[in-house]
């Protein structure tokens, strides 16, 4: 089986069915293990994003450390998977039994007819031999053929081989076709016996008469007198030589051959002017005896639908049989065929559009509930026997009556098939309808009138009316309920909205806003501002709540202010200058160390400064400054040195003190 499969595949690998088979056969070849491994891989794989190059590049490195534990897990999965698959596969294989059956196309026949015996092997098998037919003295095997067929559904193979035998009875009577046997994959199968009954035919075929007189009393049906023992013969006719306009008739071309041909004969169809033609398949092939010879008959057919009334002549058809090395081409011509097309009766209904045959009509809407301005689709299907290709749209006439709808042009699907010799088909009209009104809208019935040639009269079929529930949609001018005397706006057509006018400038494709550094600066600046304000605010709050901190913070500024005042007063009012210097220094020290300035004696200053580990000479200079200021104030002349020098000295002392105090980790 697999061997056959692969052989078949190598022939035409391109076709789709074979691709399917190839995949399935791959699965069937006990290739469970690789298949399940790849399935596991797929199962474990991380879903990669679209730009997968990154994802794939990263995956192995991150997966490696966990690989060992995962491998154990994979083995477990594999085992369970194998178990599962084996339990599934075994009954499936066992189930596919092979059947071998025999059937005949008829159980009663006459001696001038042929019997077709078909032996069928079906099931899942690999090798099939030739069947052994029972010995049959009463039936001659006049031909045999063999056909094979494979199908594959969900991985299950079913094959079918049919052996077809053409049997000719040699005499009349009741016979039994004994069981046939066949060997399939080494096993022998047997059919059931079949009973047949053979009656005496009009022409004894068991002993073909010499001479052509025997053919005359029993001309084969449809065969013209022309068939009288030639090697090759052609003829043509129509099934109904007097059809109505639009009624189907079948043009049949038959080729009789009593000899084998080298080349493939080529048929030149006549010109079917005045008809709409449709090929009928398959060709009929049968055997017939006439004039004492057995002919192989090939019948090729065309369905014809007359388009105009009156007599029409179909010109002869031509069959060209290519010659071989020794013989020239042979051309065989049929006779012309006369067809008298009858006009349709005059009492046609108003809406008759030329449909001839038997038709059914069906209409439906999808969906049946919608909203204003949301489209629904109206389906109208006409199906039946006749020429559906030329049917007119039954919904075309009601287009104007659908005032509550915007109606779009239909989309038409035609499917044509055949039922024996009768052309059948269906035509599906799909229309997009957009409701413009809310409420329960009714679509009127759609009707089709046709002429039924079998009953010889006109008929009319109609669909029931359809209703569609339309809920109010978004407000449109046409749907707003107007007051009395106001009329809703009729929307006559619908189209896409018009293009926009060209603006003076067009936006260029630029890098996204978020790709600009300034954009992110916009995010950072405010948070910096908030941080700054917060720090400042915290300091303010401490200044107002912590007296010592506040005094220490303002001490230097205050002292410098006093010294500036002192410098101004040096020339004009030395007393004030001395006082200012003294105050500047004592207040500074008081503020810095949060002490009452009034009680600051020289001793206290010395002690405090010493505690702060201020160098001794600086303490001396500070005290010296204070003494100087006091003596200047109370005994100006005794001071000796000028107030200007004191201010300068006080300034340096203050700066040094400031440095010394702030350096201290207090």
């Amino acid at each position: 089986m697999n061997a056959m499969m692969t052989e078949k595949n190598s022939k035409n690998r391109r076709t789709q069915i074979n691709a399917d088979e190839r995949r399935s056969s791959h699965l069937r070849k006990s290739a469970f293990i690789p298949a399940s491994i790849s399935a596991l891989f797929r199962f474990c794989r991380v879903k990669t994003p679209l730009h997968c190059s990154q994802g794939i590049a990263k995956f192995p490195s991150s997966a490696r450390p966990r690989r060992r534990s995962r491998a154990r897990l994979n083995a477990l999965y594999l085992l369970t998977l194998l178990l599962l698959l084996s339990t599934l596969a075994v009954p499936a294989l066992a189930q596919d039994a092979v059947t071998f059956s025999a059937e005949v196309d008829r159980t009663t026949l006459s001696t001038d007819q042929l019997l077709t015996l078909t032996l069928t092997v079906s099931g899942d098998y690999q090798q099939v031999g030739d069947p052994q037919l029972p010995l049959m003295s009463d039936l001659n095997v006049v031909g045999s053929s063999r056909s094979s067929q494979f199908s594959m559904v969900n991985g299950v193979v079913s094959a079918r081989t049919a052996f077809i035998y053409r049997l000719q009875p040699t005499r009349s009577g009741n016979f039994t076709i004994a069981p046939a046997t066949i060997s399939v994959d080494g096993t022998t199968y047997q059919t059931d016996p079949i009973e047949i009954q053979v009656t005496q035919g009009q022409a004894p075929t068991s002993t073909p008469q010499e001479g052509d007189s025997g053919a005359a009393p029993t001309p084969p049906p449809g065969a013209s007198g022309g068939l009288s023992g030639q090697d090759l013969h052609v003829e043509a006719d129509v099934t109904d030589p007097t059809p109505f306009v639009g009624q189907q008739t079948v043009y049949r071309f038959r080729f009789y051959q009593a000899v084998n041909l080298f080349g493939q004969p080529r048929l030149e169809w006549p010109n079917f002017n005045g008809f709409w033609s449709e090929a009928l398949t398959p060709n009929n092939v049968y055997e017939q005896t006439a004039g004492g010879r057995r002919y192989r008959v090939t019948e090729v057919r065309q369905a014809l639908f007359p388009t105009t009334a009156g007599p029409v002549t179909i010109p002869p058809a031509q069959l060209i049989i290519p010659g071989d090395f020794f013989n020239a081409d042979v051309t065989l011509n049929t006779d012309a065929v006369m067809v008298d097309v009858q006009p349709l009766p005059g009492d046609a209904p108003d809406d008759f559009g030329g449909a001839v045959g038997q038709f059914e009509i069906e209409a439906w809407v999808e969906p049946t509930e919608t909203r204003v301005n949301e489209p629904v689709t109206l389906f109208l299907r006409v199906a039946g026997a006749g020429n559906v290709s030329t049917l007119t749209d039954p919904t075309a006439s009601v287009e104007e009556t659908l005032t509550d709808w915007r109606v779009y042009d239909p989309q038409v699907n035609i499917e044509v098939g055949q039922d024996g010799e009768i052309i059948r088909g269906e035509k599906l009209f799909e229309r997009l309808l957009v409701p413009t009104q809310a409420g329960e809208l009714t679509l009127p019935p759609f009707a089709l009138s046709y002429f039924d040639p079998a009953a010889d009269k006109y008929r009319r079929v109609e669909t029931p009316p359809l209703t569609v529930q339309v809920a109010p949609g978004e407000d449109l001018p046409g749907t707003t309920p107007g007051g009395e005397g106001k009329q809703a706006i009729d929307v006559l057509g619908s189209d896409i909205r018009h293009i926009k006018a060209a603006p003076p400038t067009l936006t260029m494709g630029r890098a996204s806003l978020t790709a600009q550094p300034l954009y992110w600066l916009g995010w950072i600046l405010p948070i910096l501002a908030v941080a700054g304000v917060w720090i400042w605010e915290r300091r303010q709050r401490r200044l107002s709540s912590d007296v010592a901190y506040a005094r220490a913070q303002r001490a230097r500024r205050l002292a410098h202010k006093r010294l500036a005042q002192a410098r101004q007063a040096v020339g004009t009012d030395p007393d004030a200058a001395y006082a200012a210097v003294a105050r500047a220094l004592t207040d500074y020290l008081g503020d810095k160390f949060n002490l009452p300035a009034a009680g600051l004696t020289h001793d206290a200053i010395q002690r405090v400064l010493a505690e702060q580990a201020i160098p001794g000479d600086l303490i001396d200079r500070t005290l010296n400054c204070l003494t100087w200021a006091d003596s200047g104030r109370f005994a100006p002349r005794a001071a000796g040195r000028g107030a200007g020098a004191l201010v300068a000295e006080a300034e340096t002392v203050l700066t040094e003190l400031e440095d010394a105090i702030t350096q201290e980790p207090s």
């Binding site: 679209l50 730009h51 400038t505 067009l506 806003l513 954009y519 600066l521 916009g522 501002a529």
Partner: protein, 258 residues
């Protein structure tokens, strides 16, 4: 007095930040004259020529919603439903609040051949989607920055004027909530389009195969205008997925990204 100076400084800082982002938003532009020429072709009924004119501008790097809309119209009128829908969707991205784009996109979608089963979407989800897509990504980024600046301003105000702190706190809370929503919507959209970018079938019919190559089994066919999402690209082939979950590979040129 000192407080006044500080207020002035912070105010200038905020103004600086605002002007920075506003000047950033000022886009580089191209002249609309070429588009006007194509518009004239469209109005003369030469839709194919109009489409070529618009497409030339797009190829030159113009990313303008109105241009995409007109291009979609030109393709629609010349019968190319797939490219019409593709360009309407591109236009919708740049003009999310434009009714014309929505209307034409809806009409074009109604004419596509494939009925794609979409999962039933809850009304709440649909509403959320509409809200999220109410702004373009660029607009949302600008709004987020604006809200951030306002939020920082409110926090500063609350720090400086302690008596009105209560008002400042409520205001800041509201603005912070809005900012969070905006950032969330940006995040959701980036994640959504980055993970499975949407795409539209532009070929009249494209066969979707089981793998990236012509030799793989044909699984199904899609027609012009079918809207899908891409989940993988390999060479000239993309792996697409339909809303119902159907998957397969198709040539990348037949299914361009929106």
């Amino acid at each position: 007095m000192k407080r006044r100076r500080l207020t002035a400084i912070t105010l200038t800082l905020f103004l600086l930040a605002l002007t920075a982002c506003v000047s950033q938003a000022g886009p580089s532009t191209a002249s609309g004259a070429q588009m006007a020429v194509a518009n004239q072709r469209y109005e003369a009924g030469e839709f194919v020529a109009a489409a070529e004119g618009y497409q030339a501008l797009v190829d030159a790097g113009v990313r303008d919603g109105q241009l995409y809309y007109n291009l979609g119209n030109a393709y629609f009128k010349s019968g190319d439903l797939g490219r019409a829908i593709l360009n309407y969707r591109r236009a919708q991205r740049l003009l999310p609040r434009d009714g014309d784009v929505d209307a034409n996109l809806k009409l074009a979608r109604a004419q596509t051949r494939d009925r794609i089963e979409t999962e039933g979407e809850a009304a709440l989800v649909a509403l959320a989607r509409r809200i999220i897509h109410w702004l373009t990504l660029e607009e949302a980024a600008a709004v987020a920055l604006g809200l951030w600046i306002v939020l920082c301003g409110l926090v500063t105000g609350a720090l400086l004027w302690r008596k009105r702190r209560r008002i400042g706190r409520y205001g800041a809370g509201a603005v912070a909530g809005l900012l969070l929503l905006t950032l969330l919507s940006i995040g959701v959209r980036r994640w959504d389009t980055g993970r499975e970018p949407p795409a539209v079938v532009v070929a009249p019919e494209v066969t979707v195969r089981s793998g990236p190559g012509e030799d793989y089994l044909t699984e199904f066919a899609l027609h012009a205008g079918a809207e899908v999402r891409l989940i993988e690209q390999r060479g000239d082939w993309v792996r697409l997925v339909l809303p119902g979950g159907l998957q397969g590979w198709a040539p990348a040129a037949a299914v361009p990204e929106v």
